[in-house]
Symmetry: C2
Subunit: 357 residues, 2 copies
DNA sequence: GGCAGGATGGAAACCGGTGTCAATCATCTC
DNA sequence: GAGATGATTGACACCGGTTTCCATCCTGCC
């Protein structure tokens, strides 16, 4: 059940290194060397104001000389809290996951925190139990929730109960500002709509992401609103539901392109599905963008790896991650502010063009 | 520098939960409830044989009833080692990174260990210092090194010095068996070659990954060896160097397809570059596989998201990750064995076909 | 029945930090 | 110059486990 054995592979003994012999310094060592009590060293480490400058400098010198860094486990034990940030997610897109991780790491660089990843399955019967065990056992300092876990009120409630700080990254405001970062998918949808309208398209279709993702609704909502501003509207049959996957994009594309008359522009809930539509169009003998305009969402790697490269909505995922962690660990050094909003923006590539003659 | 503030956002106080009041049980609670000393409870947790069955059962019952789990920090402090596994990597491919993470998590599910991710940059001046600080501060239980960090002897040496267990995942045997998992890229290269030869191709080209990746050399080596068995050889100009990226695939494709006579088959060091070649072929007005056969390597998501879907070499990344962690934490319950080898295998899709008439 | 020796259980120290609270020190006030 | 006041500092317990060392309890054996 729990870790119980000593590690199997012990390192070479034959290769004694110069450094190897020097034991890691402890707070007691530093205290002795600086001629103070360990409590005072602790004060310096924790930036307590109640230390005379002269004393502080002396201790800091010793710390620097010995390259001392406090043991996070011991510190955590005393603090009743670890210095680990959890990322709990179920987003299936590798590009999103990696970008988010990089963003989180950006935000905690040099802070002494570490990132522990925890993929999960929202439909598992042990979903909440697993999260609870994870957070409580590791005494996580805080948790970042990207979509769609972020949209699960059970998770937010659980974390509130446990008393674990968290940040939800979502399309809309779901919680108190200090717990949220809003990605503003709605605005992205609107940007896509305006681009397509400007190109002169009238017969426009939309491939939605799964119902279970809030972003699906927001992207669609923003798209429809902006269309309405231009005096256009999506008929119900112009909206088909995909699953944010490549395959679903192909299927939805097949469906839409078999219609008569067929749409001249398709806005897809994400790039994966847009790539699927490109493939569907190819099968149908259509050229993009001459016969069909395709617009994606996310601007992940795949957007540039397909042909033609996708016009899409860029979402600053990594940046969002960075800011999320900063909110989590930065604490009171930032003044309270509104919900943090990160705006997407349109990237025009080659998959969109004027309406065919 | 180091975490020093209390968390900024405190959870709601107004929503008192039923569960919230019940303090987490400690080893002392369990000992008291079971009527034994905490040392005996500790023995049960650590599976010591020196506990009478009756006593053990009683203690286990109390543990189960209270859902007790020992505090990893306290335990780690006493063990002088944490229960964290580090993944130190510099592989730029999100699909690889995510698959590897999932594999590692598969292998540690239910073990009480957690995964801490640590991307790095091999050419950074603080590369080794960073790793050392990470491993030593967190007192990592073990580290998994995927390519190309796995191929860096400085890292292996450092970890040996520190005395941290590690597993290297690489194309070839670089270390003692217990420290290695070999991906056998050479075999994959050979499989690609045999497939291409069977289709009747003679004018064959190869796009290599970057020099700095061992897998580049192995994939190429296996490919050339199997070609040689069929009496074929790659001329130096048929080998061009890419960078494992989509863009480099486009560039290398442009170069190769502008030749006269041009190759009828191109084997690419990975799927990304193969996708790039597909795009290059499209620009050149060539149909795949009618005019050109393209074979990739890895079988990541992109292989199925492009058109036509790529014939490629599937590498069991997730499985490799699982086994790596099991070696790391499974320890002495596994008998010493040879270097673990994970074999790739050919997946035939639609990007390969018989040589054009 | 007495004794050697293995099986069990417990007290106390320790891992490396932090919280509490009292003691010490330097000024300041009158 | 004495007491007051607030800034500094340190002694000691504690976080939740493990290890060391020793006491006790059974056994089997003679």
């Amino acid at each position: 059940m729990s870790p119980s054995k000593t590690p199997s592979s012990t390192p070479d003994e034959n290769e004694t290194s110069v450094e190897g012999g020097r034991r890691r310094a402890t707070i007691n060592d530093i205290a002795r060397l600086a001629g103070v009590s360990k409590k005072t060293v602790s004060r310096v480490i924790n930036q307590s104001p109640f230390v005379r400058d002269e004393t502080r400098e002396r201790i800091e010198a010793v710390i620097a000389e010995w390259g001392y860094a406090p043991d996070p486990q011991a510190r955590g034990l005393a603090f009743r809290r670890s210095f680990l940030i959890g990322m709990i997610y179920d987003n299936p897109n590798p590009q999103y996951v990696v970008n988010m991780q990089l963003g989180l790491l950006d935000g905690m660089r040099g802070s002494g925190f570490e990132l522990v990843v925890h993929p999960c399955n929202r439909s598992s019967p042990t979903f909440l139990t697993d999260i609870r065990a994870f957070v409580e056992r590791q005494k996580l300092y805080g948790v970042v929730l990207p979509p769609s876990v972020s949209e699960d009120e059970r998770v937010a409630k659980l974390l509130n109960e446990i008393g674990c700080a968290y940040i939800r990254i979502a399309s809309v405001e779901l919680d108190k500002p200090e717990h949220m970062i809003v990605g503003h998918d709605r605005m992205g949808g609107a940007q896509a709509a305006r681009h397509i309208v400007e190109l002169g398209h009238k017969r426009i279709a939309f491939i939605s992401g799964p119902e279970s993702f809030r972003s699906s609704h927001e992207r669609r909502g923003g798209f429809e609103d902006a269309l309405a501003e231009a005096g256009l509207a999506l008929a119900p049959e112009d909206i088909v539901q995909g699953a944010y996957t490549f395959e679903s994009g192909v299927a939805c594309g097949d469906l839409l392109l078999s219609r008569t008359p067929r749409p001249t522009a398709i806005f897809c809930g994400n790039d994966e599905m847009a790539a699927g539509v490109l493939q569907s169009a190819r099968k149908a003998g259509l050229s993009v963008p001459q016969d069909l305009t395709v617009v994606g969402f996310d601007d992940f790697q795949i957007a540039q790896a397909v042909w033609p490269p996708l016009t899409t909505i860029h979402t600053p995922t990594r940046e969002i991650g960075r800011i999320a962690v900063e909110k989590l660990i930065g604490g009171e050094r930032r003044e309270p502010r509104d919900v943090t909003k990160m705006e997407p923006n349109l990237v025009i590539r080659e998959s969109s063009g004027p309406v065919p003659a």
